[in-house]
Structure formats: structure tokens, C-alpha cells
Symmetry: C2
């Protein structure tokens, strides 16, 4: 990736040129103030890349989106997405997901947009194993299309939220060959979040022109060090999906090799996905704190990622952070059971936040520290766990959140 000035901008999925969006309540969610159906539309056909859940149980929308992108030659023009019902583990799931694409394409065509059903990306999130009623979606399609606008991003971002407490959007603007390009996206996710492909629902749009194969390559690389380094609870969802649509309207020379422009695009994509990842971690179900573990001094990337993730995933450590207790033995314990090869006796660990830094472990053994200072450091709402293996020069980060009473409360009775 290349260093390049990335300017954070507003607009989410509508930040890039030529993307409209809308969202509304179609009735899947009894709360009429909460959108449950979202639509994103590009003015022109997009090169498209996607990553999906690695769960064997795949939501029907995953199956249909994969088939659509195959049929269309990795081209897409629209996204249709609902919350409140995952359309997963239902006998008629694929049929319903296909119907959502057909309804979307049909209404868009009626309004003068040329969209084929296989150019529609479909996604669903919510309860698993309940039949998805198609009527509310069909009945609202006209209003959904009629309300599309180039600043409708928040209505769409609202539609994909479930137990999310905040809307998640991020976009950056950057220069490429004299052209201003934008990468922007929206994400939903709060529970059933664990590193293994995509994680949660995520839709990224860009007006950059790039070859679909390279788009997929960049996405897979960046997902490995962002979304796949995120864990809220260790549960890999059945419906995880991340798509990137590139419509080329920025007017840059189309990226068709791994040149400097490609590296700049990767930097932009990293910026967007990394920030969405942090938003997802911070809004983890019941979370009061964002946890970011960086593992430096690793012999290779996989080791760095594995160690950082292991710390972030430890329930005992997550509880200790909720209690603002500098119980660093649990960090060492989690590093110790990470599935990677390294010498534990070299490891240093420090805890940091906006309130300061405390060293807690040097060369694998504890060092004296002030519990009072530790309390101050851990009182912040973003905690950084700094691990240095001191046996290489590669580093990686992983993101998560604390484990709290509210996580248990939210998940003790999710369906009601």
C-alpha cells in the first residue's frame, strides 16, 4: 500500500459519484421508525468484488448473490437488503431471495433504469429459520425506488441496522492521476461477529475505474487485515457479506495492473474497511469499550494476526477490561494458546489509552506497576493492548470489545 493523503468525507455509500440510495420501513420490523429495507443503485454498471461467510450454513441471499455475480460476469448495478429476517435455513429461501432481485429489477426498469435481476446483489440479516414474508417487500418496492436519491445513504444505512446502536458509514476522497476518487461504505454488525470472511453486512462503493479481478484481489488482501481481524463474540454468522461496487465515474484511467494507482486504491480501501471494522468493534453487543490489540515484532503476518486475534477473543480478558482490571496474566494466557509458533519468553506487553501507557510484562514475566495508574489508563473507552513478540518485524492489529452484562442480556432473548 502507498501512503497518500486520504480525506475523510461524509456520504457513506453515496459519497462516490453516481450512487443513489434509499431505505424505509416495509413492515418486517414492527417499529415503524426503524427502516428494514434498503436499496443502493449505481447510474452505470459496476465491476464488483465480494467476500462471503465461511460458515457451512449459508443464508439463501449468499447463494443467490454468488450465482448472480457469476451469471453477470462480476457486474452489478444495485443492492437490495433487508433486516429483521436472515432468510436462512428456510426451505423456500433461495426462491425468496431470487424474488427480491426480480422485484427490484422490475421496479427499477419500470422507472427507466436498466437493471437485470442478475445485476442485483441481495442480502438479509436477522433471525435465522423464520420464513421471510415477501409481501411487505413487494408492496414497498415502488416507494423504495421512488425515494432513491444521491444523498439517501443514511436511510439505507439505517435499514441494515439490527442490534446496532449507531449507524456505520465511512468514506474517503483521494487524488489519482489528477482525478478525485472516492471510496465509501456502510456496515451493520453488533453480534455474531467473528473473523472469518467478511463478517456482517458491508457495502462499499467507489467511482474509481478498476478491473474486476484486481478489485477482488485488493478486497481479499485488505479484508484479511481488517474485517477478519475483528471479533465481538466468536460466532461466525451465516449471512456475512462484503461487496465492493466500482462504477468508474471518477474518470481515472482504468486500473488494470498492480501499478502505483492500484496501491493507492488499496490504501483507500484499507482506510474505509479499517474504520468500519473499528466502528463494528466499538458497537459490539453490550460493549462499553473498544479493544485494539496490536502485535508487533512477529516473524510473519499470520503469526501477528493470530496472536492479536487470540487476545481480542479471550472472554476472560474481555471481562477484565469491562471491570477495568489490569489482569495481564489473561493476556499472556491468550497469547500462549494462540495457534502459532514463537518464543513466549521474549514477549513484552503494555496497556495504553488516551490516559497513558503502563508496561505490565517484559520477557514473558510480570513487572511491577501501579494499580492506581492502571485504573486510570483502563478508565478510557478505547484500550490499546501493545504486544511485542521481539522475534521479527511484522505487525498486525485486531479489534474487539469488552464482554458485559448487556451482551448477555441482549442475547438471552434476541428473538423477542
Amino acid at each position: 500500500m502507498l501512503e497518500r493523503t486520504m480525506v475523510k468525507i461524509e456520504g457513506g455509500v453515496c459519497a462516490a459519484k453516481g450512487f443513489q440510495a434509499n431505505g424505509l420501513n416495509c413492515g418486517l420490523n414492527p417499529d415503524k421508525n426503524k427502516n428494514d429495507l434498503g436499496l443502493v443503485l449505481s447510474d452505470v454498471l459496476c465491476d464488483t468484488a465480494a467476500v462471503y461467510t465461511s460458515n457451512k450454513v449459508k443464508g439463501a441471499p449468499i447463494t443467490v448473490t454468488k450465482a448472480n455475480l457469476e451469471k453477470s460476469g462480476k457486474k452489478s448495478k444495485a443492492v437490495i437488503v433487508n433486516s429483521k429476517n436472515a432468510n436462512t435455513c428456510n426451505a423456500d429461501g433461495v426462491e425468496k431471495a431470487q424474488k427480491m432481485c426480480q422485484l427490484t429489477a422490475s421496479e427499477l426498469n419500470a422507472k427507466g433504469y436498466e437493471v437485470k435481476a442478475e445485476e442485483v446483489i441481495v442480502a438479509s440479516t436477522g433471525v435465522i429459520g423464520q420464513i421471510l414474508p415477501i409481501e411487505p417487500i413487494a408492496d414497498s418496492m415502488q416507494a423504495l425506488v421512488a425515494g432513491l436519491s444521491y444523498d439517501g445513504n443514511q436511510r439505507a444505512a439505517n435499514a441494515i441496522m439490527t442490534t446496532d446502536t449507531v449507524m456505520k458509514e465511512y468514506a474517503v476522497s483521494f487524488e489519482l492521476d489528477g482525478k478525485t476518487c472516492v471510496v465509501g461504505g456502510m456496515a451493520k454488525g453488533s453480534g455474531m461477529i467473528h473473523p472469518n470472511m467478511a463478517t456482517t453486512l458491508n457495502f462499499v462503493t467507489t467511482d474509481l475505474a478498476i478491473d474486476a479481478e484486481l478489485l477482488q484481489k485488493a478486497l481479499s488482501e485488505i479484508v484479511k487485515v481488517t474485517y477478519n481481524c475483528l471479533s465481538v463474540d466468536g460466532d461466525t454468522s451465516t449471512n456475512d457479506m462484503l461487496t465492493v461496487m466500482a462504477n468508474g465515474l471518477a474518470g481515472n484511467p482504468k486500473i488494470d495492473s498492480e501499478n502505483e494507482d492500484y496501491e493507492v486504491f488499496k490504501t483507500a480501501l484499507y482506510e474505509v474497511l479499517m474504520n468500519l471494522t473499528k466502528m463494528l468493534a466499538k458497537d459490539g453487543e453490550g460493549a462499553t469499550k473498544l479493544l485494539e490489540c496490536s502485535c508487533a515484532g512477529a516473524p510473519d503476518l499470520d503469526t501477528a494476526i493470530t496472536v492479536a486475534k487470540s487476545v481480542i477473543c479471550s472472554p476472560l480478558f474481555k471481562c477484565a477490561m469491562f471491570g477495568e482490571d489490569a489482569n495481564w496474566g489473561r493476556i499472556l494466557c491468550a497469547i500462549g494458546y494462540a495457534d502459532a509458533e514463537f518464543d513466549i519468553d521474549k514477549v513484552d506487553v503494555a496497556l495504553a489509552s488516551a490516559n497513558g501507557t503502563i508496561e505490565v510484562c517484559v520477557d514473558g514475566a510480570g513487572v511491577a506497576f501501579s494499580e492506581e495508574e492502571a485504573k486510570v489508563v483502563l478508565g478510557a473507552d478505547e484500550i490499546y493492548i501493545l504486544v511485542n513478540l521481539k522475534q521479527g518485524d511484522v505487525s498486525a492489529k485486531a479489534w474487539g470489545c469488552d464482554l458485559t452484562y448487556d451482551y448477555v442480556k441482549i442475547n438471552g432473548d434476541y428473538r423477542s
Copy 2:
């Protein structure tokens, strides 16, 4: 394993002939009513088998016990164990653990028992990274040895408890070649429990005569389908240890091949370890329910174990059980991300308890069931999750517990 009548008996580690035990408060634990130092002694030298944590961070007692058993040729005579301090990640840890063995052997010799330091198994459990004060242990050794008795098992079992709410002992008696043999044990464990070698502190004694190699082989096989199928929180401890001491006082012909007697012994060992495993699961930190997932119809044992464990480890499912919510989609989700190869579309799932059974999923898709009936079934304190992959004839079980407010509370501030 061979079917054979196993009679459940009292006595824990003292149930087998020739084993004495004691426990007392030496001052590591400020609560004078809670023992923190335990001792087990065999009248004669024992063939010994052991399994240890797979965590890279290993408690100093693990290192010392391993070295001792190597030096003694897998012979042991005593166990010395403390709670409240794990003696792990300390620069002087090995020295302190060796000192515990020396103090034990020295005092036992002074009282006329012939014990070498390398015949002592040493174990510690408690907070990681705090220097273990040796003085309280040294000062109490005389009283500890003086109080040894053939019915002192509960004093020792009390000494190894940490956040445990109940004492964990189990013993069975059975016939072998006309001789009555006994296998008994004690365990401690409530948090930092996850399948990966031994898990928690566990001491098993038997008066059966068996070759040390075969003892180790039987232990490794049985641990795979009992302790290693147990998870409370996904955290693999640094100090896990399970030892089996066989002193041969039952007078059976020494088992030196994988004959029928060996199979009977394995049945007895399974009975003891499986029951201790269930006790550990039921007493998981904050737990209100024991969860037992059985996976039948698997093509092989590893697949059955992996699937059963995956369900038991899912935080979302664990929360749903706490809430008595039949959210079976989470079971399917956890089966789906299990790291094994099988066809998800054949899977059946049912939930059962003493209050009844409800089928929730057939051939990978949901079936209608009464939420009212489900509430009744899930109201029990032992819940059975019955998974049938329908693609083979192998089965396995895994054990865990629900995830509750109290787990978070206990672990939010464990050290204070």
C-alpha cells in the same frame, strides 16, 4: 471399552486402597475457612500418567512435574497443590515449585514415609504473575503431613477450589479377576476452561496395577472424549494438569497388554473423568445450566467431537440457553462454522431435558414447534442438544454451560 458394572462410591482420591490426603489453610487465602494447600500420599510408589495444558505459557509447576516424572521414570508417591496463586509468569517460578516438592518430601521423610522430591507431583492454581510466597507453605508443612488420613479426601478437594461453588469428587468400584478395584478422583475448575489437554487441576488415584505406558495410553484416549470436550469460556489455562496414580494395592494381575482388563479399566476411567467433566461444566463460572451436546451420525470421531464442541462453545447459543430461548438458528450457525467436512443439509437438531424433547430442525431447515413447550423443556437445569448429522454412525458428546451475568461479574474483577 467394555461394559462392566461400575458402582459409584464415596471417597474421592482416598477411595482407592492406600491413599491418604489432607488439606488446610496455610494463609495464601485470607479466608481461614477455605483450604489453600492440599496433599495426597500413596502408601507405595505409583505408576503415573499425566496430561498437561497445551498453552505455550506453562505454569512453573507444570515444568517441574514433567521433569520430576521424567527423572523418576513415571513413578510418583505424593501430590502437593496450592490454590490462590498460579505460580506462573514469575522469574522464580520453577525454583519455588521445586522448593514445594523438597519441603513435601523432607517433611514426609521426617515422619517415616520414604519419598524423594522427584516423586512429588506439584500443581498450583490462582492468579497469574504474582510471586508465590513460599513461607506460608513451609510453615504449614508439618501440620499438613501430620493431618494425613485415609478419609482426608474432602480436605484436599477443598484446597484446590478457586471460584468453584461445589467440591468435585467421583469414584467407582468394579471387579477385575476377582479383585475389587477402585478409580477415584478430584477436580477443580470453574473458569479458564476450554478443551485442550487436561483442563483445570485433576488428580485421579487407583489401586489397580497397570503398566505406566498403558496407563498413559488409556488416559490420553479417555481425556480426548471427556475433558477435551469441555468448555466453559474458550480460555485454555496455563496450569491445566491431570494425573493418574496407580499403586497396585488392589492385587489384580498387573495389566501389561491391551487385554480385557485394560478395556475394563478404561471404562472405569471414562466413568470417573466423564462425571468430573460434567461437574466442572455444571459449576462453570456463573452457570445456571449444564449443557450437553451430543453429535450422532458422524462419519468419524473427530467430526463428531468438533461439531459437539462448536455448539457448546458458541457464546450466542450459551446466552440463549441462559434466557431459555429456543433460538435453534444459533445451533445451526455453530454447527456450520465447525471446522469439519460434512453435508449441512442432512442435519437434524432437537432440544431435550427432563421436561421433554422438541424437534427444531430437520434436514438443515426449521420445523414448526410450540414455543410454550420449548420454554418448558429449556426450564430445566440440564439441557441436552441432540445433533444428528445422518452421515455415519459415530457419536461424541461435549459439555459446557450457559453464559450469564454472573460470569461477567466474576471475571470483571477476579483479582480483588
